[in-house]
Symmetry: C2
């Protein structure tokens, strides 16, 4: 299959995937674009535009086969096998992330890393906490793809550099502070503060669905 | 000031705000659009396009006054006073969110809510945990604008309905499950799973900056 899809649509594809998996878990076999629009909170016209790339799978009046569509999306995003993830930082956020990501079958949470000696060796929901100093050896053995950062701002940049030297190519950060991306590394930010601001803006504007 | 800015730019404005505040904290007085592009991880051309709405503040060759630009952005987003937030759920994620948001001066974390009797009455970083049953009375007194949901999927929809009946207009959810938005309520999702998938996709594609 050779479909080229714009990056903005790719971002929404993983949202559809979330909704499709929910539908699958609920035993649903068919899904309409209007269902996806409602459960994903994306406008119907955008959903239809994005799904037009998958036109061949749809049947007029019936919609899409849930399993078929989610498999096609998985192939495009490139997650036909579980994404190998490590969590850096085993505090409240790190613990929450481990619990959250362990529930999702297409992630493999390989390990957590911390600097705090008291946390090393513990297990959080079955995930072992290792010393951050061992990241290089760990990378050679297990080749994690993504590091999720759940650490305080102090020493953030050094940790990122350390992860990059070990071989990590993708980093997800919850920190408010910007990080300088080492060459060859992609950093994404989960900006909780911005999401809240944007919500406040939408409420103020009265643009309520 | 009557500036109309498209919604996609508004989303980026709060990212600029994060970077501007960091610059402010570091004692920086002037900022160039290229600095913002680098620290925010947004392409230079997008930053220049977004900031063109604030052209009157910029000085060629010097850039923007940090304080002036952030104040103008705050006014447009509508956060010239702190956003009143409550956290629903006082588990790992709830605790992490309280610590995270308490660090940000333009948020006021009014209280946390939980169902678990053992957690009620405790304080997390100075924020009291109240029984979720008290939300209606609490709303009348303190009028929180945004509820951040940090609760398990069980009973998610009922909690949302409860918050909506109390008067809450904006909800931020970390759950994978879709929620039916009650009339007049805006729900935004922080999709950690999607962010990781998108990172994995970018790495696979080799679109590394």
């Amino acid at each position: 299959m050779a479909i080229t899809i714009p990056e903005v649509s790719i971002r929404r594809l993983s949202t559809y995937l979330r909704c499709l998996r929910q539908a699958e878990a609920e035993g649903q076999e068919w899904v309409q674009s209007s269902d996806l629009a409602r459960t994903c909170g994306i406008s119907g016209s955008l959903v239809r535009k994005d799904l037009s790339y998958f036109g061949e799978f749809g049947i007029r009046g019936k919609g899409y086969r849930v399993g078929e569509l989610s498999k096609a999306i998985e192939e495009i995003i490139g997650i036909n096998e579980p994404i190998r993830v490590i969590i850096v930082g085993a505090g409240n956020l790190g613990r929450a992330l481990i619990h959250h990501l362990k529930e999702i079958p297409y992630f493999k949470v390989l390990a957590a890393f911390d600097r705090n000696e008291k946390k090393i060796g513990k297990r959080i929901n079955g995930v072992e906490v290792l010393p951050i100093g061992e990241i290089e050896g760990f990378y050679k053995k297990h080749a994690p793809q993504i590091a999720v950062l759940a650490i305080p701002p102090e020493g953030l940049q050094e940790t990122v550099n350390l992860l990059s030297r070990a071989g990590i190519k993708g980093i997800l950060s919850f920190a408010l502070q910007g990080i300088k991306a080492p060459p060859g590394v992609v950093i994404n930010y989960v900006e909780i503060a911005s999401e809240i601001e944007y919500l406040a803006y939408k409420i103020k504007k009265g643009s309520v669905a």
